[in-house]
Amino acid sequence: MKHMTRKATRHVSQNEGLIFEKSSSGKAAWKLPPLDVPEVDASALLGVSERKDLGNMPEVSEIEIIRHFTRLSTWNYAIDLGMYPLGSCTMKYNPRVNELVVRLEGLANGHPYQPERISQGALRIIKTLSECLIEITGMDAITLQPAAGAHGELTGLLMVRAYHESKGDPRKKILIPDSAHGTNPATAAMVGYSVENLKSNAQGMVDVAALAAQMNQDVAALMLTNPNTLGVFEQEIHKIAEIMHAKGGLLYMDGANMNALVGKVRPGDFGVDVMHLNLHKTFSTPHGGGGPGSGPVAVKSKLEPFLPTPVPVTKPDGTLGFEYDRPQSVGRVRAFYGNFGMFVRALAYILANGPDGLRQTTEDAVLNANYIRKGLEGVYDLPYSTPSMHEVVFSDKLQAKKGVRTMDLAKRLIDYGFHPYTTAFPLIVPGALMIEPTESEPKEELDLFVEAMKSIAEEVEEDPRTVLDAPHSTRVSRLDETAAARKPVLRWKPGS
């Protein structure tokens, strides 16, 4: 390995087995207080329903648990360690004050069914966040119930469907650009729609003429990501909206990329009828290794009657409450009110930013992406030269000539101390390198990233093997995913 890595260096990492391998009878990490009511005889109370044995559940002490999970944690990369440029994922800083306020007694221990009289604090948070998100999106109404982006899509399309049905015009199809994320078509199918693909044009944008040709009375909505998954703003968005509306269709916006827009432009102003947000992307709630998220859905007033129940309202006496009686509602999409803990964090983020901070955040996110683009142009193939917003998508075309693909480059990036970019999509770019730095990266980190990517490109020319065998510095080398899927081992068993 000729090239030095400037950001990362190796250090000792602790080995750690599975927790079951540390278990032995009689160890404990728990202690219950004495009962203040009479003991009971479980067998007498439960009869045949009594459980006698808890199988292979572990028995370990507290220090072992602390060490176990702390050691595991050190095997993860994280935003707290450095740049995490996963395109479409918006891996930004997760403020710590958010974690403090969500744990305040009344919020952490609030029961979803406690009387509204003593739920005014939670309701105020829901209302304030709703108002902020409505203002940010330029829409008219919102539900915070969906638990993630895909769940928001489901909720949004259910409302689209209810809207058309209320007009006696149940439509059959959803148009989805070929650049879309996999959840979009998967969601459309769950709502009973058939999916029709929409081809992108040479600029990576919606082909407006093709859309006009494909749009007809059978189409319920177009699901559009804007900026799209190439990080490109759909410049003809007003025409797109017009085409949809002229034939009675709706414009759905996947708001995964709102980090490029907040404070600069509002989807409600450019013709969007319904959209979801990802509080776990744009609004800084932590990804937590895959969730939880929160996917609020904002709508124009014509869709408001169809919002999931319950809907938060201000009562005549000025107190806040929930309204359940909404005859046109699509119904509930989950129990209770949504991932409330994420609402608290997202609102804390908005309050920490204010209007000026939100705008600056967006500007910095777009600045960072363009800085990377500039730094890597020519080194990596840029399949679409259309201006980038918050992310930039290169391809592995130049490196593929040496047999090195985007996943190989990504794995090599790990050795340089960075998390890889997104490799899985957009499908319209074969061998995509989808890079989203977010606003959270200082110039120094971006410079190191560009340097690392250039260095890897040189390695591909001089010593492709190094890249193909990467990563070299992790505790495990490349893992055999094929074997994992062929003969799935999905749980530990004694003696295994």
Partner: protein, 460 residues
Amino acid sequence: MRYLPKSPADRKAMLQAIGARSIDDLFSPIPAEYRLERDLKVPRQMAESEIVDWFRERSRENGDTYATFLGAGAYYHYRPVIIDSLVSRGEFLTAYTPYQAEISQGTLQSIFEFQTMICELTGMEVANASMYDGSTAAAEAVMMAVRLTGRRSVVIARSVHPEYREVLTTYAHHQNLPLSTSSFKEDGRLNLEELEQSITPDTACVLIQSPNFFGTIEDAATIAEIAHKKGAMLVVSIAEAVSLGIVEPPRQADIIALEAQSFGVPLGFGGPYCGVIATREQFVRQMPGRLAGQTTDRNGKRGFVLTLATREQHIRREKATSNICTNQALVALMVNIFMTIYGKVGLKELAKQNLAKTAYAAAQFSKHAKVLLSGPPRFNEFIVQTSEDPYAINSRLLGHKIVGGLPLKKFYPELGNAALWCCTELTTRSAIDTAVGLVAESERSVRSAREEVDVQEVAP
């Protein structure tokens, strides 16, 4: 803005490097007529201390000092301190989905351990990495049964959490899955004769909850037999995970949809919680959600990856088993740590304390009011029927800083003045005695008011 790591000089240098005159150049792809030329109308930028104060105020307005008898799908259990110590580690908190396995082994191994423990506790062979919550897990489990059986209709026990049933109704609506409900008997258990009749050759599955919404433990073995005899599957929803410490799991079920909130997840006004689906190995390819699996690296070393991704939306798009992508990973980690702390012995002892508190409370209440649907074994919850409207009693209880049981009129009007009470290991005897005292007082005053009326009517 304190989260932004750039000086004005940095920004200037970067713009120069890009070759842009100003930041506005970078936003020129947005048509001018749509650009926002004003400040967003959101609250002004606040200092950290102001943010903490604002939320403290909200916390105080949110019943921060009340004891609670509410359960109904959200349970107040003790959360050991180390759960938050560990999930607050940035390496867990601020990591993405573990798609890049080599630098995500911590998350992946913990999911593998989670899946293992869920299997041990539920008696199933495979469990996924999590679903949004118990309600969506139940709905997706039902849809899974529909795919597995090739049948379309679903029989749902009326004793399943009413909001879970609402969610299933929403999900099923546009997939044209006919739903029917099966009622419960006087003793709180499912009416088996009625159930047997409602299963048709088109029934994909029967969905029950056990312990059910009323706390009653269903006879899952018999229900499974009835369903299987007619070629239908049994899907069991479990909303109170602590019950698994002492209650035999429904091993005869084909799919279990669990809400694991009881295992170390804060009530948090209803979320985020942690749904999980567990099933038999033969059904795994129709399972929704992520799965971690064991494999080896190039040197033969054990490691873990996300696997069987061909079920998922990023590969299969409209043919995927579900649209779920982001799940509840960090909450599943809380659950994982909780299960590790209590383990084989502690979970049982914990569940026993829950049984004892509930038995005591139900016995005390039954001295003064009617405890409905009793007979079969129960866990943590029971229904008290009073003469007075439970809302009125609850409102007096609030004066004692106690939140009473959940009035059931909204969900089960036929039960009259009934409320669903819940005890856990955290319910104190003194809170139980106070609540029982108020209910007793209410019954006495209703009775004496009635006697007064009787006396007046008798008087000439």
